[in-house]
Point group: C2
Chain length 343, copies 2
Amino acid sequence: MEKHSLKTIAKKLGISVATVSKALNDYNDISAVTKQRVKDLAQELNFIPDSVAKSLRAKQSKIIGFIAPDLMHHFYFNVLSGVLKVAQEKGYFVVVASSEDVMDNEIRHLRSFENKRVDGILLALSDNTLEYSHVNRVVQNEIPLVLYDKVSKTVKCSKVVINDRKAAQLATQHLIDLGCKKIAEVRGYFNALTAIDRFIGYKNALRENGMTYNRKIVFDGNGPSINDGMQVADRIFEQKNEIDGVICHNDLLAIGIIIRLNELGVKIPEEIAILGFSDSPYTKISQPSLTTVKQNGHEIGLKACEILIEEIEAKVNKKSFKTKTIEIPIELIIRKSTHKPIN
Amino acid sequence: MEKHSLKTIAKKLGISVATVSKALNDYNDISAVTKQRVKDLAQELNFIPDSVAKSLRAKQSKIIGFIAPDLMHHFYFNVLSGVLKVAQEKGYFVVVASSEDVMDNEIRHLRSFENKRVDGILLALSDNTLEYSHVNRVVQNEIPLVLYDKVSKTVKCSKVVINDRKAAQLATQHLIDLGCKKIAEVRGYFNALTAIDRFIGYKNALRENGMTYNRKIVFDGNGPSINDGMQVADRIFEQKNEIDGVICHNDLLAIGIIIRLNELGVKIPEEIAILGFSDSPYTKISQPSLTTVKQNGHEIGLKACEILIEEIEAKVNKKSFKTKTIEIPIELIIRKSTHKPIN
DNA sequence: TTGTACGCGTTATCAT
DNA sequence: ATGATAACGCGTACAA
């Protein structure tokens, strides 16, 4: 099967390329007869216009670049599903890349997106990105950009975020309401962009309830995995008497803690209540099932992609566009790992 | 920041566009001085060649289309990660789409890939695809195509597959070796392309060990989820005395069964041993942890993408390419759900 | 109503 | 060593 172009059709019909183009695009200065002849032949030849050529002319690739720090993480999958939904509706393609939480990868992907002439970029910063010149470069080059989830205030672009401070405060308050008096906090990556806000939320909740902050029961995990959680659990176990609740920045970490504390014979939630972040599907399988702060990834993806396309279309139509920041509400999902009777 | 092209540079330097192009591409008929001047200015202007124009000229988009039936499924994520790895190394972009196991979506995505002029397509058929004309169309249009995982023999293209028959046989043999005498089988979707082969493998193992096949303990789940598994568990419980082992076509299904049997007080693996398919991360969290047939998704992605790019480059160089089918080995990962002493 | 001519940004060919 | 020109496939201002 050969490839056809406007030229093929024009030749076969003995008319000009321009006429064919106009006919196919339903210009109203083309006779109905010609239109029909052209369309019939196009149909018959199974003609599909070359979108590369279109892109070159229109200076629009109809491609969106999507970067997540870790595609294996269920949350980012949810984000992607939201992005795909909107992109598809609006006729955009999504090119997917993962930074693996490595800044160099992030830089490389951004560069290749630039020279692929993507129309816009969706990015969640890697936890190991500590400097933003490569991101600012994108903004300077006037490529529409929306940061989601992992965000930096220093970058002037639209953002779709979770209010991590509020989320952590809500979570901590939940444990306090259950009667926990000695609440520990466990982070994943030390530098995680979300870590500080969650920490503040945690401390706010303590203060508002007249509880004192104890730095000895704030732990840094080596990473966000189950194994990291199991290691932290050993440290928690050493201070077992100083802890009756744990706010954990990540579901897997929390599940690792649960698994290890189970092994050590600590009763959850009776002796120690555990709470995670994300609402990953693992939460239901864990025994006991894990209470968690649900971050609606799908919703984040939807919104981020909507805003991005808005900005892209504004740019095409040379309209002005003002950057916006949207906050996606979180939700506390209570399961058995915090289901203890109020004492 | 304005966009620059070869023309901009040529003008600023008072030389021709052709020379600039050659200089940047290190042609050896350009003087070292000129090359340097051009490269310096390009650097300074932050010039990035327009890959859309390149594509138009080279008739190559450097884009690969990827379709999975269900991106939420961990297995396909693994496949995607393998695909991304190879694609990135070879300088290809990957556009991602999900058919959600709906044939119409599959058709739509294939069509839009065609007119996006992707260089090649990776596809796993949806479980609800029962007719393949849309796939054959792709082959007829001479767009390189590799089917992976969910495959149809009637489509003439390269394939990367798991030997499901062998896998199921291996799994069943494992239970037999443990002393199971009454092994049940549980499927997910009724029509799943993999279901028949697994069923045959299951029966082969029984026959080779002189065991009789009992159709009453072959169950069809309504779907592949934990909840579906829990429902099946109730049916298994009713025939508790007729069953001492379960081969399950899907990890989540298996975990659902485990959760429900735990609730019903059935001892796993002592009374009933359970075995799943996929090696999803859930297997480790399940209590007891789940023995499973590992399908190396990452490896499938790597191979599929390699073959696809091979075919693409062969086509570009007008070399012939012969379609091939590769089988990715499976591996039995033994965990506690089948860890019973041999009796 | 239709056709001519040009430009989008590259690169390959052929002159100079 | 460098440059002029054509071509990839499309859309559109302008001329006919």
